[in-house]
Amino acid sequence: MDASFFFTQFVSGLTMATLLFLVASGLTLIFGVGNVFNFAHGSFYMLGAYFGYQFVTVWGNNFWLSLVLTAVCVGLVGMVVEAVFLRRIYGRANEGGFQILLTYSFILIIDDLVKLIWGTEYKSLPRPQGFQGAFQAGDIYFPAYNLLIIAIGLFVVVAAWWILSRTRAGRVARAAATDREIVGVLGVNVPRTMTLVFGIATALGGMAGALAAPLRTVTPGAGIEVIIDSLIVVVLGGMGNFWGAWFGAILIGEVNAFAVAFVPKWATLFSFLVMVIVLVFKPEGLFATRKIRKL
């Protein structure tokens, strides 16, 4: 085992971690601001992949334009879903369970709609122009597209942190998370804010889907496969915390990368193991913004 192998393994762990983070970022945003637990977030990720496929492969658009269009479209779908359905159950007794069920019903419905529209065949997106190759250093390759994804992840986490902590809109969103009523009294249209936040969160999910599509398979059922891993990341980092989600994703990604290299037989257990260890010692996550101890 030499140093260069350590480095390549580290970078490939980062790629996985960043995609995980991009999905989880939307999830943690909705939870942090809206207290909504969106099980269907993975389905928005899947929708993003299919929209990306539609824009790029079927309609032949430029990849980057398609990426933006996809994020906007998925965000719009998310806003409609929030305004028409989700809004109705806010504040209900035992809201948590109703949220899980409602968002789970979205998974079932979106899965079948996707099947009706695009069929069950696997779809694929090519890597965008200019990012098809790899940087080569001696024997090792660093695929350009992977590096790009890592950069985009960094950009998202910094941008989100800046918006949430340094702009007025971000402060309103955070305030709404703490106390919706007071913010409402202060003249902020809380329902509209919630819809918007939900839209941004699903747009992030959709973007992650379209970005991941050139590396993965576009298939029905893809949503449910990413949701559990993203949940782990969100819980690990402390729900509602962007930096926490990013760190949680890196932790899971790197632990996985080195488990694969050194104990391949048990690699799949490690991410759960990390989660259990963290949660036993810090049940509210590594970077919890709030303590939710009382029931």
Binding site: T15, T120, S124, A134, L215, V226, A257, A267
Partner: protein
């Protein structure tokens, strides 16, 4: 207002539940109770199987059926869940009085359903699940399989590697496959066969990502570090696509031969990846759209295309073969009710299928109730005949069933 909405909703719910009952009791009918996954990842296999089975039924019924019997099949989504499939199978047998259970893609579900078949003494025709257990360890007389098991794919794979070694000496081999029975079986069976055929090899890596793992980057870089001459993979479906895409970016296939003898050659891979699919990958599958180049196979592929607007994945041919096997057995017995006679007829069945090359007829092995077929392995190369695929397999190597079926001592050992 609000009340009205509720009333409407309630009515809508009721309407959903009171769907028309479509049970009918015709006189002379061969009833088949089929189960396939039709949602999620394996949905494609199920949908293709249903289309092909219906195609076979239409062909047979269009010619007047079998001995005056029409074939009628019910298709239910198995949801790839064993407990649910057991419930459906029980309903098929005890309520719908089917003559045959049929289908199943996942081996886990297949193992659960074969128990029901044994319990109720109802014939179960497996069309796509590949676990060798069903015909060897967990064999029961009412089970028949009309598609390849993993053992013969892996034995053919071992022979391929043996020939390759004679031509272009290779030493090291690594494996990556999904971490469940299907993935583990393939690797065990391949190594068993490599030893059996005396192929010298050194294993430099074994990797077990979870089924439906979306991200293989860490596996790829680790595999590259192992520097295997041959990389054997045991994926199926979307996992193959994801792995190849991610590995290709690392330039992996320049140094290592990619080898996937069981499910790699499935058309789904070619249609999903189009021009992105690298040339020179060595793949195998249970049926190919461009091999054998016989009239029977061309007809099958083209009629499927006419029916669905797309080319079939290998699951389709299995379902098609299953319906024809049933028809042939009923023809020999004369009726679909005499189960014991049908078992006898099926266990010595000989049948011409689309995947039979000229001069060969598939037959069922009476010992295992496994269909014996020629197995081909090919290499990816440009070919635009089956769009949206831009690459297809070619440069075929073909293996005879006698050489690749589980040997008697293997069966004896496993059935102990």
């Amino acid at each position: 207002m609000k009340k009205n909405v509720r009333v409407c909703l309630a009515i809508a719910l009721l309407a959903l539940m009171v769907m028309p009952m479509a049970i009918h009791a015709e006189e002379k009918v061969i009833r088949i109770g089929a189960m396939y996954p039709m949602t999620g990842r394996p949905g494609l296999y199920g949908i293709d199987s249903v289309a092909a089975a219906e195609m076979a039924m239409d062909e047979i019924n269009g010619k007047g059926g079998v001995n005056g019997y029409k074939i009628d099949a019910t298709f239910t989504d198995s949801k790839a869940k064993p407990a649910y499939a057991v419930r459906v199978a029980t309903r098929y047998i005890t309520e719908d009085k089917v003559h045959f259970l049929f289908g199943i893609v996942s081996s886990g579900v297949g193992l659960a359903v074969t128990e029901v078949s044994k319990q109720y003494k109802t014939i179960f025709i497996g069309t796509d699940h590949a676990s060798t257990q069903l015909t060897v360890d967990k064999f029961q007389p009412y089970y028949f399989r009309v598609s390849n098991d993993t053992f013969s794919s892996m034995a053919a794979g071992a022979l391929y590697l043996k020939e390759l070694q004679a031509k272009k000496p290779w030493k090291t081999i690594a494996y990556i496959g999904p971490d469940y029975a299907y993935g583990h079986d393939q690797w065990n069976e391949l190594r068993y066969n490599l030893d059996r055929f005396g192929v010298k090899h050194k294993v430099v890596g074994e990797y077990w990502p979870k089924l439906f793992e979306p991200d293989y980057n860490s596996y790829v870089t680790s595999l590259i570090n192992d520097k295997p001459d041959i990389l054997v993979t045991g994926f199926w479906g979307g996992d193959t696509v994801a792995f190849i895409k991610q590995a290709q970016a690392y330039g992996m296939f320049k140094k290592t031969l990619y080898f996937q003898p069981d499910a790699g050659g499935n058309y789904e891979l070619m249609s999903a990846m189009g021009a992105e699919l690298p040339a020179g990958l060595v793949l195998g599958a249970r049926h190919y759209n461009n091999w054998p180049d016989t009239e029977r196979n061309r007809n099958f592929v083209q009629s499927f295309f006419k029916r669905t607007g797309r080319y079939p994945t290998y699951a389709a041919e299995g379902a098609y073969a299953g319906v024809y096997a049933i028809a042939k057995a009923v023809e020999a017995v004369g009726n679909p009710d005499d189960t014991e006679a049908l078992v006898k007829a099926l266990s010595t069945l000989k049948i011409q299928l689309p995947e039979d090359p000229e001069g060969f007829t598939s037959y069922i092995d009476p010992e295992t109730h496994q269909i014996m077929q020629m197995q081909a392995i090919g290499v990816t190369m440009p070919n635009n005949d089956f769009p949206p695929a831009k690459m297809m397999l070619g440069d075929w190597k073909v293996y005879k069933p006698e050489d690749i079926a589980p040997p008697a001592e293997y069966i004896k050992e496993k059935r102990k």
